[in-house]
């Protein structure tokens, strides 16, 4: 016993007696608790409430339990089915364009040419400013009589009369996509750029010494190396695009004749516009379920991709 005492440095023993050290687990929970409680009140509890409301016919005053009636209505509503497909089409098209443009933008920003610092600053404004304000600019651009796009098209003789971009079903939908891509591209660009800059120069130099062309290096080194970032950016922007509300609301309010109504716009119109809280809640639950399913499937593929490209 005495030998042990001699082995231990004296100071440590004194210290443990003198001060009380809180167990790490408890201290960590104390640090996390405020944020967690806040989120529970403002996000988790409303989520539970949404779920409950979706089984009622809640309106401004009063609510009755109606079971699965709201869901049954949605299941039989062909307009709602169309909205679901439109939302996914909206999401895939917009995210695809954002990734392609982001990849092009990042490659340009990554090129070792003079002026790229300025280029990088000029790419970012759509990401920094409030979406609502950028959309006001687009609203004017799309105006058939006074906007630049239609005006230039007429000047150049592409069309005879004014083009009201937001007045027709097809053009309104694609115009909204363009604006959504405009809002989302800068962030994708910057994250892909950061990923590209993280790729080791040695790889490029080795390939260069072997005589690999620029395009070959891009295809065989850059793309595989940044693949994990591409796929996680794709998921993030997919979720944001799916939930994109302000752009559509400001440009078209979901019109003309529902052509730009995605699930989120439909939910907002039903719940806030028409005060049908119960029916709106059922739509919100559908959104949550679809997004969760989508994310799960995506995560599954993400793991495969990461394994394939040997990411940690």
């Amino acid at each position: 016993m005495t030998t042990v005492d001699h082995d231990q440095p004296h100071d440590t023993e004194k210290n443990t007696q003198r001060r009380f050290v809180m167990p790490e687990g408890i201290f960590a929970w104390l640090l996390v608790a405020p944020a967690l409680i806040f989120i529970c009140i403002i996000v988790a509890w409303p989520l539970v409430e949404t779920f409950r409301l979706s089984f009622t016919d809640a309106r401004i005053a009063g609510e009755n339990y109606v079971g699965f009636e709201n869901y049954a209505d949605l299941a039989g509503d062909r307009k709602f089915h169309a909205t679901i497909w439109r939302t996914f089409y909206w999401m895939f098209l917009s995210v695809g364009l954002k990734l392609v443009l982001g990849l092009i933008g990042a490659t340009l920003l990554n090129a070792a040419v003079p002026g790229k610092a300025l280029f990088r600053v000029l790419v970012m404004p759509p990401w920094v400013i409030p979406i609502a304000i950028g959309c006001i600019g687009w609203l004017w651009l799309y105006n058939g009589y006074f906007g630049l796009l239609s005006g230039m098209a007429q000047r150049l003789g592409i069309t005879d009369g004014p083009i009201e971009f937001l007045a027709y079903k097809t053009s309104a939908f694609y115009s909204a996509i363009v604006t959504d891509v405009w809002v989302g591209t800068p962030m994708v660009t910057l994250f892909l750029l950061a990923a590209m800059q993280g790729v080791s120069r040695d790889l490029y130099e080795a390939a260069w010494v072997d005589g690999a062309s620029r395009w070959y290096r891009f295809r065989r080194i850059t793309i595989p190396q940044i693949m994990p970032v591409i796929v996680s950016m794709a998921l993030l922007s997919a979720i944001w695009t799916f939930n994109s509300f302000e752009i559509i609301w400001i440009l078209t309010e979901g019109g003309p004749r529902g052509a730009t109504t995605t699930l989120i716009v439909d939910t907002y119109k039903t719940a806030i516009g028409n005060y049908k809280f119960g029916e709106g809640a059922a739509r919100a639950v559908v959104i949550v379920i679809l997004l969760a399913l989508f994310s799960l499937i995506y995560m599954f593929f993400l793991n495969k991709v990461n394994k394939h490209y040997g990411s940690k």
Binding site: F27, A35, L122
Partner: protein, 280 residues
């Protein structure tokens, strides 16, 4: 060398960059042009690209048309500052715990925070409306601040956590050995070291808060005096005519605060925000 481009490649790069930037900057250009045109000229058809009666009158007149405009801009800034302050108070301790400590259900809790990113305010508006009504916060600044904080906490935790993980542990351990307790270590050792990261996350939250006000403002707040700029801009859509030129001018002036902050800090901001993406 490897990075050298032929003349043709250089032309290609700059041409592509020009096209890219045209797309990005076109709406700003259009807003600026519209803000310079007198109202009657704005509605002139056929479209004229250039005209000789451009003026900055709208930038003067807009304060008269919408007397509360200055107030709206200040509201936007005030709300964003409050959101940023509150978010950081929640984020700093939580991010530290996630970066440094082991505790039961750590990964599940982190996943839950990140899961919040899957929902937008729009999905939760109805119950959120009721929660805010119960708390008596509808039609106050808090109706826009509190939901804003909730939706920025997860991103804040995520960003700050990856920053804190890069700070070497040795310094904290040295402080422990010297007998400092946990709170003291956090306050006097970790936070000063993390200051650049705190600034990056703070600015990111501020920009996020400035950007996200529209939905909460139009849904939870009917009090004109508290309205932030994106919602206040709709006042230019008047009873008789829409003064588009003034609306564009006001929108451009309204984004100035956040653009200025951004321009000064963009280098650090981008490096900090994308650090998490590169690491994995």
């Amino acid at each position: 060398m490897m990075d050298r481009y032929t003349r043709l490649q250089l032309v290609g790069i700059y041409a592509a960059a020009a096209v890219f930037l045209t797309f990005i900057l076109l709406p700003f250009f259009e807003m600026f042009m519209a803000s310079l045109r007198p109202l009657e000229h704005l509605f002139r058809s056929p479209y004229q690209f250039w005209s000789d009666d451009f003026s900055f009158d709208a930038y003067r007149q807009m304060w008269v048309t919408v007397p509360l405009l200055g107030r709206y801009i200040l509201n936007s800034i005030y709300i964003s500052f409050m959101v940023t302050g509150m978010t950081m108070i929640f984020v700093i301790p939580a991010a530290y715990a996630f970066a440094r400590m082991d505790f039961p259900f750590k990964n599940a809790t982190l996943a839950m925070f990140l899961g919040v990113n899957m929902f937008t305010g729009a999905v939760l508006l109805i119950p959120l409306y009721r929660v805010l009504r119960t708390l008596g916060l509808l039609n106050t600044y808090w109706a826009m601040i509190i939901p804003g904080v909730a939706f920025l906490i997860p991103t804040g935790i995520w960003l700050l956590r990856s920053y804190l993980e890069k700070i070497p542990r040795e310094l904290e351990e040295a402080a422990y050995v010297d007998g400092a307790n946990r709170i003291y270590t956090l306050r006097r050792v970790v936070l000063p070291l993390a200051l650049p990261g705190l600034i990056v996350v703070g600015v990111a939250v501020f920009i996020g808060a400035y950007a996200q006000q529209f939905l909460f403002a139009i849904t939870f707040n009917q009090t004109r005096e508290y309205q932030p700029l994106p919602a206040g801009l709709y006042e230019f859509i008047g009873y008789q005519s829409v003064t588009w030129n003034e609306m564009m001018a006001a929108a451009l002036v309204g984004v100035l605060p956040v653009m200025i902050i951004f321009l000064f800090l963009q280098k650090y901001l981008v490096a900090g925000l994308t650090a998490g993406a590169v690491k994995e």
